[in-house]
């Protein structure tokens, strides 16, 4: 028998009401850009920074900072949704599409499987189905709001996968491990959803 929760008189989230259809279920709009990090801010010098895509057979391809910037880039404007219930609309980014990077990986003989595990400075990881990082849905982003991505928001570069909850947009990303089987990352090991679609409210495993 579940207890009825005590309702605090006159308490409601102060966050603004948003246009219908734009907010996924259970979300509230914020005008801030809250910083959520699972660990301290890494500081990797750009001279040693690289982005690696590797498969389980040991084939890999890497781009240095300059090489990444030589690739064609996009400037997506997207809404983002955090599992802690805030959503922010019309965020402006600059980065290289994961499609472009996977094309480069295939050309280098790296085998793309059904899943990826993004790995980051500081040890953070997150897993994603390949379909959720392809088809112009995901980027390695190094610019935010017209300026280089600040360290507290994941700079020098982070994943940007805005159609999923924002913990999937891994900060301080350094590469993708290509997998044939799904492997839970940092938060997924603790019970967060393997996919994380905010429109289906996939916050936790089993949702």
């Amino acid at each position: 028998m579940a207890d009825k929760p005590f309702i605090a008189r006159g308490f409601h989230s102060h966050r603004a009401a948003a246009p219908a259809g734009r907010l996924p279920p259970g979300q509230y709009e914020t005008r801030d850009f809250p910083v959520l990090s699972a660990g301290p801010t890494p500081r990797t010098p750009l001279a040693t920074w690289d982005f690696v895509i590797r498969d389980s057979a040991g084939h890999s391809v890497r781009w240095s900072w300059d090489e990444l910037h030589a690739l064609p880039r996009d400037t997506p404007t997207v809404d983002i949704h955090c599992v802690t219930k805030w959503s922010k609309f019309d965020t402006r980014w600059e980065g290289v599409s994961i499609d472009t990077l996977l094309d480069g990986a295939r050309a280098a003989g790296v085998r793309v499987g059904g899943y990826v595990l993004a790995f980051c400075d500081g040890g953070y990881t997150t897993n994603l189905p390949i379909a959720d990082v392809t088809g112009a849905k995901a980027w390695v982003a190094f610019g935010y709001d017209g300026v280089p991505l600040p360290p507290e928001h994941g700079g020098p570069a982070r994943m940007l996968v805005p159609h999923l909850y924002f913990w999937k947009s891994a900060k301080w990303v350094r590469g993708l491990q290509l997998l044939d089987r799904d492997q839970p990352g940092f938060w997924e090991q603790l019970g967060y959803h393997d996919r994380g679609d905010p429109w289906r409210e996939q916050r936790y495993q089993g949702d």
Binding site: P5, F6, I7, A8, R9, G10, F11, H12, S13, H14
Partner: protein, 252 residues
């Protein structure tokens, strides 16, 4: 009345607000009647949970301001503009309302007379709250106990109106063996001859007393203040295991 903490579940309970009082333009004290309150130790906190009609939930921790031994539980809340919980607690809640809490919580950032001293307390902003519980506990001790424990407080605030418990702290400063120093970081009243800057190494060298006295140190307030103060105290020779910290996050 002495007793032993018994292991057991920590449960959410609905407390009743019996009184509210404004401490400063930005800080308000809520006095709560918590059913079957087991008592608390100075420095402990409670968790507060707010549930809205639509099921939305928010949870925060607040340090207990009242002295151990009081039957009611006082929390002092600093109102942070555009925040989710503190404006509700400061502006909406009134006497008679229910508030869901669980506690008391904590066993590291706590001080009892029995631990002895000397005591060096450093507060930034609302970080004064758990230290005030310690000071109120100290003030109720016997003169003999107090005589053996010198107490120093260094308290950083934006301006004189922001000093929480100001009058009570000025009275406490009149106790023998109690030294209270304020530092104001943004504005000071006319004729102010106290400190007028953020806490730094020179100020701590002046106020903390020698590390060889081996004080028990408690530092509480915004995370940057807590981390820089505790780092400097260790540089000055204080034993890290005697410097206890409680971070309140970016504000506080």
């Amino acid at each position: 009345m002495a007793g032993t903490t018994l292991p057991g579940r920590l449960i959410w309970q609905v407390a009743t607000v019996t009184d509210v009082r404004d401490e400063t333009p930005r800080a308000r004290t809520l006095v709560l009647d918590v059913p079957q309150w087991p008592g608390h130790r100075a420095g402990q906190h409670v968790d507060v949970r707010l549930v809205a009609e639509d099921g939305y939930q928010a949870q925060r921790s607040y340090s207990i301001a009242s002295a151990p031994g009081d039957t009611s539980v006082a929390l002092t809340i600093e109102r942070i503009d555009n925040a989710e919980v503190s404006p509700y607690l400061c502006d909406v809640l009134h006497a008679g309302d229910g508030l869901e809490v669980r506690g008391p919580i904590g066993g590291y950032f706590v001080w009892d007379i029995a631990q002895g001293g000397p005591l060096f307390l450093v507060a930034g902003g609302s970080g004064i709250v758990p230290l005030m519980a310690m000071l109120r506990h100290y003030a109720r001790a016997t003169a003999a106990d107090r005589a053996s424990i010198p107490v120093r407080l260094l308290y950083s605030s934006r301006d004189w109106d922001d000093v929480i418990y100001r009058k009570e702290l000025e009275r406490l400063a009149e106790l023998p063996n109690v030294d209270v120093r304020f530092t104001l970081t943004r504005a000071a009243p006319a004729g102010w001859n106290g400190f007028r800057r953020r806490i730094d190494r020179a100020m701590l060298e002046q106020v903390a007393g020698p590390a060889s006295d081996m004080p028990r140190v408690f530092v509480c307030g915004p995370t940057p203040l807590v981390e820089s103060v505790s780092a400097v105290l260790v540089e000055l020779g204080h034993d890290p295991s005697r410097v206890r910290t409680e971070r309140f996050g970016p504000t506080g």
